[in-house]
């Protein structure tokens, strides 16, 4: 019953965070600017966690995550703006279509390994972006106007759902299968694990939540443009996962929170931000290639007395 205890602790914590922030918002202590940063932070956490399941858990190196975010953003915007559906339906539709896109992209590409997979996912993301760029129905290069409908409640609910689903997946039979692929794909294959199946499942779940994040993102700003979802966005998401630690869910959450704050502070100096990002990326890889947390979770830091734990 240890796992269900962790689940209830997490739910209680989430509820407390939500209540406190909501209280601060309604009492006007957190103004619109900080509220926007909080929503941005939630979106980035969702993106980081959804990429974490692909890179950190399954070990499949994808650098095209922004493509699925774009799919989620555009399809949810079509649902709410063009078809007049309510926002929750739009979010679900965006996430669902992104998952479908992830399945379609994942089936052929996940047979590739390492560098080739990375470059193929990058290629697919660029193709998705170019398609949106050329379809006049969604505004082409000028972008699509979207009403601001996202609230802190939607964004935070998205984060909670993402974290619960992905941590449950990680601790399930499927998750263990995925981790075995990360550790050694040939050995996993030899042990009778259907590696293609687990890779595609993880990739599809990752795309689903990237799509959800994209859908929330689309309704947070007043316009969505294809250029927003170029590969620099994919690299941004990659940095969260790498900095937090490949294989650590809490690590990617922490990195997403931290880097969102850095971005907010350096909003007026975008070049400086990118220089810092790239230096962090290089230095982390040179001196601590496992990232800040490695494969450990934040909860394992509180377990004193017990020796060992998961070794990287």
């Amino acid at each position: 019953m240890k796992k269900s205890k962790a689940f209830w602790v997490f739910s209680a914590l989430a509820l407390v965070i939500y209540a406190v922030v909501q209280g601060l918002i309604s009492s006007g202590i957190i103004d619109l600017y900080y509220q926007n940063i909080l929503v941005q932070m939630c979106i980035n956490i969702m993106l980081a966690v959804s990429l974490h399941i692909v890179i950190g858990i399954t070990g499949q190196f994808s650098i095209g995550h922004a493509g699925f975010m774009a799919v989620g953003a555009y399809f949810s915007a079509i649902a709410t703006m063009k078809l007049g559906l309510p926002l929750p339906v739009g979010l679900a539709l965006g996430a669902g279509v992104a998952a479908l896109a992830g399945l379609l992209v994942g089936l052929p590409t996940l047979r590739l390994k390492g560098d080739y997979l990375a470059i193929a996912t990058l290629g697919f993301a660029e193709i998705i972006r170019i398609i949106f760029l050329n379809v006049d129905y969604v505004g082409g290069a000028a972008g699509m106007v979207v009403t601001n409908m996202t609230t802190w409640t939607y964004a935070f609910a998205g984060v909670v759902i993402t974290i619960i689903v992905i941590s449950n997946f990680t601790n399930s039979r499927h998750g263990r299968g995925a981790i075995s692929i990360r550790e050694d794909e040939i050995a996993a294959d030899a042990m009778g694990i259907n590696t293609t199946y687990y890779k595609v499942v993880a990739f599809t779940i990752g795309s689903l939540f990237a799509g959800l994040a994209g859908a929330i993102y689309a309704h947070n700003f007043f316009i969505i443009q294809p250029t927003t979802f170029n590969f620099l966005k994919s690299f941004d998401i990659l940095i969260y996962v790498v900095l937090g630690g490949l294989g650590s869910l809490s690590g990617s959450v922490i990195a997403a929170i931290f880097l969102t704050m850095v971005t907010a502070f350096l909003a007026n100096f975008p070049e400086t931000r990118m220089i810092i990002y790239s230096l962090v990326l290089i230095l982390v890889m040179l001196y601590r290639p496992t990232g800040l947390m490695g494969t450990k979770e934040i909860t394992s830091l509180f377990k004193f007395g017990k020796k060992g734990g998961t070794k990287p």
């Binding site: 390492g114 290629g123 660029e126 040939i186 990659l238 220089i275 040179l286």
Partner: protein, 291 residues
């Protein structure tokens, strides 16, 4: 005749891709790393050439040589500072570092000179030559000539010199090469130097041909040159040449058919098809997976 005109444009574009792709394929062949920063060395080469021509008022060929030398030095510095420590790291770590180096170069350039584009000075007289009723600009012919000369030079270096022999040996088996007394580190640096010099040359040629350069110009040609290298079979030098030229022609044909907005997608579709159907490329060797 319109089509021959387009073919010439395609070959000009393709020879730029081929020059960049050679650097990718050589580096990948020797240390199995996709050097994402290669496209940015190409960008630096274009800017070095620009400043050499615009500020110091020198001709095309001296600028080309200055740009190649400086790019070779930059390539070696990148290799020594960032990639050398990662020889035994995982492929993902090396790839992430390469992405980091690429972003660092791009945004350092933007930081120091801004993101505004620059117009290349007209360094070569622009005349048109009529061949069988097709008017071909002299710059296209010059680009092709420079590319061919550089490729012959490269073939000579790789196949006839001692360092070329060492490069081939290291790419075949680094450990055995080390046992045979080859200095593996220096050989890898030499590979980076040659690849980066070619990228620098491509940068200057790009600037002269398209007359517009900017700090992020290296990203897309870099990716496409990588696609060209994969298409031709990564690690194979003739493959990179053929891949680059065919990609250039395909892109120009797609534009000429009226789908110019889909031009970039065409390259990525080619990449995905080749990766799924024949990942070793046209000239690549089939490698078997070993445990």
């Amino acid at each position: 005749m319109e089509w021959i005109q387009q073919l010439v444009n395609g070959i000009s574009l393709g020879s730029i891709y081929a020059l960049i792709a050679l650097g990718y394929t050589m580096v990948y062949g020797i240390i199995k790393l996709i050097n994402f920063a290669h496209g940015d060395v190409f960008m630096l080469g274009a800017f070095i050439g620009f400043y050499a021509i615009a500020r110091w008022d020198i001709g095309f060929f001296p600028a080309l040589i200055i740009s190649m030398v400086l790019c070779a030095i930059i390539g070696v510095i990148i290799e020594r500072v960032a990639y050398k420590r990662l020889r035994n790291a995982t492929r993902i770590a090396a790839l992430i570092t390469a992405i980091g180096v690429s972003l660092l170069i791009e945004y350092t350039v933007i930081f120091f000179r801004g993101a505004s584009p620059e117009a290349y000075p007209e360094v070569l007289p622009k005349t048109y030559i009529d061949i069988f009723g097709v008017s071909i600009s002299s710059i296209s012919i010059l680009i092709l000539a420079v590319t061919v000369v550089l490729m012959i030079l490269l073939q000579f270096i790789v196949h006839k010199t001692k360092i070329g022999k060492a490069m081939r040996a290291v790419s075949l088996d680094p450990d055995a090469a080390r046992l045979m007394g080859i200095n593996v580190d220096n050989t890898i640096s030499a590979t980076f130097a040659i690849g980066s010099a070619l990228a620098g040359a491509a940068g200057v040629i790009f600037g002269v041909y398209y007359t517009r350069i900017e700090p992020l110009m290296g990203v897309l040609p870099g990716l496409k040159a990588f696609i060209a290298a994969v298409f031709g079979g990564i690690g194979s030098i003739p493959g990179a040449m053929v891949g680059g030229l065919s990609l250039g022609v395909v892109e120009t044909v797609v534009s000429a058919l009226g789908f110019s907005l889909w031009r970039d997608a065409a390259a990525f579709v080619i990449l995905i098809l080749i990766l799924i159907l024949k990942p070793s490329g046209i000239f690549g060797k089939n490698t078997r997976e070993k445990v």
